[in-house]
Assembly symmetry: C2
Homo-oligomer: 163 residues x 2
């Protein structure tokens, strides 16, 4: 989820309520190698994260298969029209019921109403939210960079030699 | 991956080279409950799947972070212009080198050139390929159906009583 958030244009990822060093290390390694500004946090209670976000006047979007369909409703238009920074919240297996409530979420958005995965929901939501432009973003300070090819793999190691 | 394929409009999923009864059962259960036509196969060698597809004049799209960027290149336009049915191939951890070759793939497509996941790549590729319309598709013969809501969950059990 964190790598999808990063690759699709999010600037932060907060793994709430639990600590997982393995995840933190993976994300930090990716950021060190592939660049960009991406802030990873973990362990904060989700209620606190939401409260802090609301106090900064941000919008909260809950991704759920039960929400308003991103394709057949105008929900994405309304998210954008709100003109605020967006906190996307995604539950894991057990989604707290509160996520659906107006105390927490401003919008309940479904990426289709069929079962698939949180990863695909987040990717498609961000791709549509940023209108695809996120996939053209340059990640600054990268050690490694893929040069897109019709065939084969080309990776440039951009590490500057600081001696 | 299979559930993403289904939810984003694919009609078939082939898990090549391995057999996994747990995956097969999960997919079959989802199809039985949520409807639609979706064909799941497993165990066939990937080379055979590709050869058969090519013999039917279909296009083969290999999703890879190293390929042509779906946002910054015209690759998706070319996939569509080919006007053929598409077989999407996605490697797991170890991608056979052959996937990149013109013997196998007609197009190597990257959903951005940053590391994320096969799941997000497949979802966004299909979402763009079908221009979002796949998320509005009705799945026929479903036992369960979500009625999208602004708040809360609404699931209709549509099982017809056949007595």
């Amino acid at each position: 989820m964190a790598l999808v958030a990063r690759a699709f244009g999010a600037s932060r990822f907060i793994l709430t309520d639990i600590m997982d060093e393995k995840i933190r290390l993976t994300v930090e390694k990716i950021v060190a190698n592939w660049g960009g500004k991406f802030h990873f946090e973990m362990g904060k209670p989700w209620k606190r994260v939401v409260k802090e976000w609301q106090s900064k006047q941000g919008s909260v979007v809950h991704l759920t298969a039960y929400g308003e369909n991103i394709q057949t409703s105008d929900v994405l238009k309304r998210v954008k029209a709100a003109g605020k920074d967006v906190l996307v919240i995604v539950g894991s297996q057990k989604v707290p019921k509160d996520f659906f409530s107006s105390d927490v979420s401003d919008f309940n958005v479904s990426v289709g109403n069929q079962p698939h995965s949180e990863i695909s929901s987040l990717a498609v939501f961000l791709d549509r939210f940023y209108e695809g432009k996120e996939l053209a973003v340059k990640f600054n300070g990268a050690r490694m960079k893929i040069i897109p090819q019709k065939r084969g793999k080309k990776v440039v190691n951009q590490e500057s030699s600081v001696i």
